[in-house]
């Protein structure tokens, strides 16, 4: 299925890996904003819900040449032949034509997990358990985001509720276009080193568009041809090579 249609806007991110120190602030802000429940009892790093996940990569050398980089990875919002969209048997995954954002529809999801198998970025997460919040913490849930039930898949949607709020605000002011300052995902807002830029990639004046065209910008697994809308930047060669498709040697592999 060719999903390469032209959306009105093409929201995307550029993450500067040379600025990222792996603090995890983006992941925490994401979880709070999107009502991602705390890890269930006995959940592991393989069964948790981490819409934004920080991976650690190493250059494979020994001390003192050893180097580390952190890769914050969320859904890459693929724009062409989007792997998860074409495989879902009941259209529970879609691309918003207004924004280019790949969206998940949990109330329609069967929980077959075929989309997770299809996603090369491991950016989709399954609710293996009932979501539960500690007592009183439910009062702190974000009222603009639905909580998900057990047995469905969920993932980053570039804080869709914030986009809806921005659209509503623009409409209230009689405008057709949103003010870019009104639509900033939680992870971007939370990053203490300002490593993440966000905006419309199709707007040549936007910071994100400028950064995505920088010579040190790259995308993960670009050869798979899925046209991800999340870019990464690094001046370090070995970090940029980490975006290649080639399967890692075990010794090189390290996991966050």
């Amino acid at each position: 299925m060719n999903t390469a249609h032209k959306p009105k806007a093409r929201y995307g991110m550029v993450i500067d890996l040379d600025r990222c120190n792996g603090c995890g602030g983006c992941a925490a802000a994401c979880a709070v904003e999107n009502n991602v429940p705390p890890a269930a009892p006995k959940a592991s790093d393989r069964t948790g819900l981490t819409w934004m996940r920080i991976y650690r990569a190493e250059n494979g050398r020994s001390f003192p040449e050893n180097r580390t980089a952190f890769f914050p990875i969320s859904c890459q919002h693929c724009g062409a032949h989007t792997p998860c969209v074409s495989v879902c048997p009941q259209n529970a995954v879609d691309i918003n034509p207004e924004t280019g954002v790949v969206s998940q529809i949990p109330p329609r999801c069967l929980g077959c997990r075929y989309c997770m198998t299809a996603c090369p970025f491991h950016a989709r997460y399954f609710n293996w358990s009932d979501p539960e919040w500690p007592r009183d913490m439910e009062n702190a849930l974000n009222p603009d985001v639905s909580v998900r039930m057990r047995g469905v898949v969920e993932k980053c949607n570039f804080c869709h509720s914030r986009w809806q709020a921005a659209v509503a605000k623009a409409a209230a002011n009689g405008k057709r276009e949103i003010d870019p300052a009104d639509y900033v995902p939680a992870c971007v807002e939370a990053c203490p080193t300002e490593a993440i830029a966000f905006g419309n990639l199709d707007d040549p004046r936007s910071e994100v568009s400028r950064q995505s065209r920088a010579p040190n910008a790259f995308r993960l697994l670009a050869k798979l041809g899925t046209d991800p809308k999340v870019y990464y930047r690094s001046d370090r060669d070995w970090v940029r090579r980490m975006g290649d498709t080639d399967v890692a040697y075990e010794s090189e592999a390290s996991r966050g």
Binding site: R46, P83, G111, A248, R255
Partner: protein
């Protein structure tokens, strides 16, 4: 006690012996019910699957038993469409096995999905681009066809035959059976193919992705071929196993030999295409995705030996056994060949399901493995027990092997 239900002129063990045979299987069934209950009530945290191993033991075994169940439609196709009358000796058994395999697979799928009550959504708002949609439609329809094919076998029971309307219905069903055999063949070809397509279309997973013809990746055709090659071998194997348990001949030797010959020819064709496909994948498809394919096998548990075992050990070897007229005169050789062929289809489904997920895509992710939980194993044992019980009841009270009566005299 149940003599009135058993076909005239057929020897069966006593009711007591039969109940003793069923007892362990019923216990296993109960164990499975417990595991299924836990999964349905507490959720899939009862399994050891995770976000990387989103598919696990269940999908691997579902694909395997669906492939083995292909013996039903393919025997039907050979008998009703190609008129291989010798296969009338095993068609009833093949239909029952097919029914067990498909209903068992659907049952496990219902536990495997996170929201089983939403299964009907696929019919309500289907994504016509998804191979899984096609699989869902065809498997559901084909299970209905299998139930229709099962009906006349049941209606032939000694007591049910006494109801005149059943007799008429059974007679009418027989007349249209070639139509159902044709429909079943069509449906089965497509869903066996689409099960292969499930993996072949995953262009985000270079280990699974295959180029193909039009919208179908090569795995679409390879899954059809491997299923129809193994189906007859599985019919052969189960017939032999039943005859060992029942301690009597159920079919004439020429039926075994014919099934082995069919399986052999199809296996050799499969091995040929599979080898070509593997070479194209290793030399063209994977490198185009930016992967040096040898890296797929850089991890000991899934070393390159698995590829050779799958194609040569479990593909070429049984094909050569089956194609040798001397070996086809020996039942032990044919059984060995059948076991190898069935192991081959299981290995292929294992590789496509488990190895695909074990191989990382991101460079900083490691190879991974997962071990199923006891709930996953017990859920599958439920299907095994259900299959044995349903088959045992069918064997005792229905005519699964028409030649049996002649052979015991």
């Amino acid at each position: 006690m149940d003599k009135g239900l058993i076909r005239r002129g057929i020897r069966r063990c006593s009711t007591g012996q039969f109940l003793a045979w069923l007892t362990p299987w019923v216990a296993m069934l109960g164990f499975g019910v417990l595991a299924i209950g836990l999964c349905l009530v507490k959720g899939l945290n009862q399994t050891n699957m995770d976000n990387r191993f989103a598919f696990g033991l269940w999908i691997f075994l579902d694909l395997t038993i669906i492939a083995l169940g292909a013996g039903a439609f393919f025997t039907g196709f050979l008998l009703y469409i190609l008129r291989r009358e010798e296969l009338r000796a095993v068609i009833n058994s093949a239909v029952v096995i097919g029914f067990i395999c498909y209903s068992g697979a659907i049952l496990v799928l219902m536990v495997d999905v996170g929201q089983p009550l939403r299964a009907w959504f696929t019919f309500w708002h289907p994504n016509v681009h998804s191979m899984l949609t096609e699989v869902t439609f065809c498997i559901t329809c084909y299970l209905t066809v299998l139930a229709i094919e099962y009906a006349p076998i049941m209606l032939k029971n000694r007591q049910l035959r006494k109801v005149p309307s059943f007799l008429v219905f059974e007679f009418e069903l027989h007349k249209v059976m070639p139509v159902f055999a044709a429909v079943g063949t069509f449906l089965s070809f497509f869903h066996q193919g689409s099960l292969g397509g499930l993996y072949g279309v995953l262009h985000g997973r270079p280990f699974a992705y295959r180029e193909g013809f039009a919208i179908w990746p090569s795995t679409f055709f390879l899954f059809i071929l491997s299923a129809i090659a193994t189906g007859p071998a599985f019919v052969l194997l189960t017939t032999w196993m039943v005859s060992k348990v029942a301690r009597k001949e159920l079919v004439r030797k020429n039926v075994y030999s014919l099934l082995a010959k069919i399986s052999g020819w199809l296996l050799i064709v499969y091995v040929g295409f599979k080898s070509i496909d593997t070479l194209v994948w290793l030399n063209r498809t994977a490198p185009l995705s930016g992967v040096s394919p040898i890296r797929f096998y850089a991890w000991a548990p899934f070393d390159i030996w698995l590829l050779f075992v799958e194609i040569a050990g479990f593909g070429l070897l049984p094909a050569l056994i089956f194609l040798s007229p001397a070996r086809r005169r020996s039942v032990p050789w044919m059984i060995a060949g059948s076991l190898l062929a069935c192991a081959g289809v299981a290995t292929n489904r294992f590789v496509m399901t488990i190895q695909t997920l074990a191989v990382p895509t991101l460079k900083f992710e490691p190879f991974m493995l997962y071990y199923p939980s006891w709930q996953e194993v017990a859920t599958f044992l439920f299907v095994v027990a259900y299959g044995v019980i349903l088959y045992s009841l069918s064997f005792r009270y229905l005519t699964l092997f028409p030649q049996e009566r002649d052979l015991q005299h």
